[in-house]
Symmetry: C2
Subunit: 752 residues, 2 copies
């Protein structure tokens, strides 16, 4: 049976769209003026010896972004977005990524061969420079890796009479590769986006814009007398092996066919182990997109590939077909972007296949729209990428357009430096950690996005991380101890640290009876286990019995256990302790504005809220200050209204609590804090044997040196899974990057 017959036999509900995707995108690093940068590959992008996502291609300046295999095109694009985001923000601030396949104006000498440690790779590049010239190597593009889904393959196989699954699969991929080559001109027509070479790139200039210089015979191709037969996999493999043996090719990978078989290290292994996926290498960078390609193109190509599978393949005429197809493609590539397709380029069979595919598997309107878009583009070349790019050509150059687009994508990457593009739904600390993961070249998988559950690995070393710092480095029971304020206090007190005196109650009666013990002192009444400041009452002077009772009732409404503790006067600081060392100290101030003698309080709030770090719903490191009833009341109690002009130098607070979530300021005081308190806080974490820990100390006078014996401070709480982002992006102070320290401790081998 033909593949078409097999596919027709599949049920409508068969998982026809099931597939694996992987993207590789190249891009040159340029300065703001469009000149190729002469700087080295950024050191902060980890080691190219193993980096799974960010490599350099031919030249030191040519970044290569590689996504892992994903099961959806959306996920592939998301990861490519994150890799691009991380890379852009790892470059020097004045460096950008050139958005076009064809390089900017450059001279041969500007191109530095990538400084790799691997000797073979280095020699290979010198050989290529010699053979093809360095300039051609500066052309960039996107490789679209595509495999059919396991269930889908299985279901197709089951319809066949075949017995050898691996061979069946190889045949399927061979057929797909052949049909792709037959219709390559269509992809060039639709997605070609390399209309010119900047002046000086070619020895003889092309006089008018074309569709895709890169996809033509003038692009980066093998010598024209090299032919790779697609009559069978065996023939294909043997021909390459022969070329290598004849030293026409230095290695199998020098075969630059527009589609390559993938999944094994050596070509011959495809015969025994099977092809796993195909690599389609012909996609030019779409300069209208920050990532060089967009979702619609990915999915349109997916549909087209399925349609190529649906289309019957004439095995007898393969060699002739492909020779002719190559000629057509070359013609289409070198035609003016608005020229019509030549007559030999017959799209109709493929369009029919697309329609049949959509009908048979009842694909939804999204896919129907994609096909409509392809049909429109076939009718009207202005709808093709090259057609859209044409108006931006100025004086046979895209230099200015390229610079403009590069700047837009640069600014986009930097607009929210605390976030990771595509992962904004996750917690900020996890976004920051993922940024570092990608930057340093750890492999990652998000096991549960909502649960912030990550799997990270390097070679055989796996670590799981939840919520940024819940890891294997802490044991199971000590975070549970920290979650219990009474247990925490008992352990700290037993270790000789000062904690608030107090008692725990599970019933109102005994708690009320305790009044006689505390009636002359300042106290705090709080629920035992809430972490958000709810239900807490503070009596800085001795409480009345009635007030005490109300405070207890409030606390019991939040928790079945309530603590009554001595009130400790002083300023509260958060110490972030990692692996026995204090890495950051934070002071939190209640939402406030400072007067300038000219603006009203409302205007001052607006001014402060304009800080890009301020947002809402914990999507930003700081929250916008509100001017709601609570804030208005707070102002009123201080004799102000929102419309009052605030005196110069005067600070008014708009909230009674210092929570960041209600507009408070985070102040990084790591450098200013007396080291003795950092040491003391670190000792507490050590006594608890915890790895990641937030220590809350009340310090009346931080100019006094502290020690365990003379603490001059009291620990009021330990926090498991302490927030990290609030130490990093602060309202004041330099901020401390903590997520890189987490990774360095989890994977010390990366630092070596």
């Amino acid at each position: 049976m033909t593949t078409n017959q097999l596919l027709q036999k599949l049920a409508k509900t068969a998982p026809i769209l099931e597939a694996s995707f992987g993207l590789e995108r190249e891009g040159l690093r340029v300065k703001r003026d469009g000149q190729l940068t002469q700087s080295q590959h950024p050191r902060n992008l980890g080691s190219r010896n193993f980096h799974p996502y960010i490599q350099t291609d031919f030249s030191e300046q040519q970044l290569e972004f590689i996504t892992p295999a994903t099961t959806s095109s959306k996920e592939a694009l998301r990861i490519l977005g994150a890799i691009t985001d991380v890379s852009q923000r790892s470059l020097e601030p004045d460096e950008q990524i050139w958005p076009l396949s064809m390089p900017p104006k450059l001279e041969e000498k500007d191109i530095q061969i990538a400084q790799l440690d691997d000797e073979f790779e280095l020699n290979y590049r010198h050989y290529l420079a010699q053979k093809y010239g360095k300039k051609l190597q500066a052309i960039s593009g996107i490789h679209y890796n595509f495999g059919l889904g396991a269930d889908l393959l299985q279901q197709i196989f089951e319809q066949s009479q075949e017995t050898d699954f691996s061979q069946f699969k190889n045949q399927l991929y061979l057929k797909l590769a052949r049909n792709f080559l037959r219709y390559r001109w269509l992809f060039t027509y639709l997605y070609g986006a390399a209309p010119l070479a900047e002046a000086g790139f070619l020895t003889s200039d092309i006089s008018q814009p074309v569709r895709s210089f890169r996809n033509s015979q003038l692009g980066y191709v093998n010598e024209s007398d090299l032919h790779f037969p697609y009559t069978s996999l065996e023939a294909y493999i043997t021909s390459i092996e022969n070329y290598v043996q004849q030293e026409r090719l230095i290695a199998e990978k020098e075969c630059y066919a527009p589609v390559r078989f993938r999944g094994q290290k050596k070509n011959r292994d495809y015969l025994s182990q099977g092809v796993t996926y195909l690599e389609f290498r012909s996609f030019d960078l779409n300069p209208f997109e920050a990532l060089g390609i967009n979702q619609e193109t990915l999915d349109s190509v997916h549909l087209l590939l399925l349609a190529l599978l649906w289309l019957d393949d004439s095995e007898e005429t393969v060699t002739e077909d492909l020779t002719q197809a190559q000629q057509i493609n070359n013609q289409v590539a070198l035609s003016h972007p608005l020229s019509p397709l030549p007559e030999q380029a017959q799209a109709q069979p493929l369009i029919t296949a697309l329609d049949q595919l959509i009908q048979h598997f009842q694909l939804d309107s999204y896919y129907q729209d994609l096909v409509q878009q392809i049909k429109r583009a076939l009718q009207d070349p202005r709808e093709t990428l090259a057609g859209k790019l044409l108006p931006h050509i100025d004086n046979q150059s895209l230099q200015a357009f390229g610079q403009k687009q590069a700047q837009v994508y640069h600014d986009y990457a930097w607009q929210a430096p605390y976030a990771l593009k595509g992962y904004e739904g996750m917690e900020l600390s996890t976004q920051m950690l993922l940024f570092d993961v990608i930057q340093k070249g750890l492999s990652f998988e998000i096991l549960d996005e909502e649960d912030q559950f990550l799997k990270l690995w390097h070679k055989d070393h796996i670590e799981y991380v939840k919520n940024g710092n819940m890891t294997s480095k802490d044991d199971y029971v000590m975070p549970l101890a920290m979650a219990n304020k009474t247990v925490t206090k008992k352990i700290l007190a037993a270790a000789g640290f000062r904690v608030p005196q107090g008692a725990e109650f599970s019933q109102l009666g005994p708690a009320l009876a305790y009044f006689s013990r505390i009636k002359d002192q300042a106290i705090v009444v709080k629920p035992k286990s809430t972490n958000f400041g709810l239900g807490i009452s503070i009596f800085q002077e001795a409480a009345s019995y009635e007030a005490y009772q109300k405070a207890l009732e409030l606390a019991f409404s939040e928790d079945s256990s309530v603590l009554v503790e001595e009130f400790i006067p002083g300023t509260e600081y958060r110490f972030f302790i990692l692996d026995g060392k204090c890495e950051a100290v934070l002071l939190r101030l209640a939402a406030n504005v400072q007067g300038d003698g000219q603006k009203t309080i409302r205007e001052l709030v607006e001014q402060k809220n304009a800080n890009p770090l301020r947002g809402s719903d914990h999507r930003s490191p700081l929250e916008k200050i509100q001017l709601g009833p609570i804030e208005q009341l707070m102002l009123q109690q201080q004799g102000y209204q929102a419309e009052d002009v605030l005196e110069k130098g005067v600070t008014v607070y708009l909230r009674g609590n210092s929570n960041i979530s209600t507009g408070g300021d985070s102040v990084d005081v790591t450098e200013d804090m007396h080291p003795s308190y950092k040491e003391l806080a670190a000792q507490m974490a050590q006594a608890m044997k915890v790895w990641a820990c937030g220590v809350d100390l009340i310090i009346p006078d931080s100019s006094l040196a502290a020690s365990k014996e003379e603490p001059h401070s009291t620990c009021i709480e330990l926090n498991f899974n302490p927030s990290m982002y609030m130490h990093t992006y602060c309202a004041q102070g330099p901020g401390q990057a903590l997520t890189p320290k987490i990774l360095a401790k989890l994977f010390p081998e990366l630092e070596e």
Copy 2:
């Protein structure tokens, strides 16, 4: 100022009752017939080289129970209860603990000197046997250790003009010791409970019952010409040191004064380091109490000690006072239990002090009632312990009474062998673990009772345990992975284990769209994170769209994420894995009864519920089977009613689920399960790198050998903090003790 003046100056709200308590109780091991047992100290009670709670006193048969210092008498009694419970259940089933201070009928040769490793202790006992005879050493009693609270001491000290707190404290304890000796006769009168020696104990028999043979000069006392002066601490210490130097005493501890200073290893250290508490040694065992003493006596003694502190002390007449007091005490001790107090025994000053104390500190009715009880006993000797014991004397012997009481306390200890007396409010697994902790001689502190949070230690080695098996042996993140079914499945699948195929949904729409993928197969729809079987729908045959939608809605009502998985037919088993090894396998059966052809279903349920392992509210290893609407409906569906006589051999199920909490049976199949499944489950826990883990496998045919490649089973869930008690006390099967294995892994040094 006198102590009385200082106490009078204290505020009413001063923490007068703040104190530390510690109890030591001796008891002879006897056979059911009252004969001293000749067995060795039980091996399962750990090592006497370090056991903090259970030691042997003079003889191998004389258990000594030692509580740690507690801050309430209630807690001291609770721990004594637990130690007693553990000890009784660690003896041979036919051994009991003799409930009286005076030993049962015995001969000198029956008494084996304790077989201790420590050479000094062994020699010391041989010396005592030589000097005092072994029989006297068989007398048992209770030592009541008492210290004043730190805050209380501080407040009294602050009223004084003194500058040296340690010396002030020593003076206070010296005064209390002196006043105790002055009024010792009162304690003998109230709590004396050693009215006779069994025939053969004395060379010359006493003809009539007395109050306390043990507290008289005939008891176990130092030679009568040894005098320990209480004029000053210095004089007291020097006299003992002199006696030791003269070899009248072999060591300082051979001083058997009824009250001893405590807190330092050597007497002389009290002068520099201070007395920490006093040891009152004069209490006879109360045979009406399983523990030899009760709460009211503990608190009455506490009040009396405070009253002795309140009473002024005449320093000038100490020596005469104490000489006279000793005579009075001897007279009271050797008087008939119903005889009135002699005239020199004036209780009035102490009674007045008690009243004043209660009034000044406004102690509540509980304490007032205790004083009333003391007053009544002073009026009427029948209210004293000796008075109450008198009717039980039969033919100048308490042998029969002692045997009867010993049996009662023995049966009480064994009545709920899964529980630990005094700790029944905690989870069963934690009770079992605490049992083992006490048995093996680990020190423990309950850091949070409601939270099941324990601190365990041996020497410098501390471990924290929550809920029985949440420990430092597991890391932080893997239990969080187990709490997330999707993450668990991904990790297990990545490690090559078979898990159910399926998908996770956070919205109804996509979940409904998934119908096309599952419409022909058996499926389970379940909320992602609930653990209690709520919201789960099982379709053993393909579901209709409507039923599928309903199932989704039900699951979404329990959780924001829902899993749709293939249904795996077979029997579900729970494998308990600890440290990479399968330690137990459990099969759970839905609530059921088996017919005998005679009883009705209702009668069969009652019969089954009579099993002492069945209780309610998770206080017992099994729950009673209900006959409510759900069970009645279930019966009806099978064509039965509760009043039907069930055919012989027929089993009817009264519930659709196999939860133990709804009356299900736990069946221990550890021994019967094919070892390959145990190995497979253990491999899963190892792949997850978890220490304590419950693996739920569905096995269609457990006679087939399993392997990772051919599992013949599917893992449907991993459980962190897996239940332990259900494996131990089962409806069928031998049961597997798991908590001892937890301890052995946490403290391997105990096994050495």
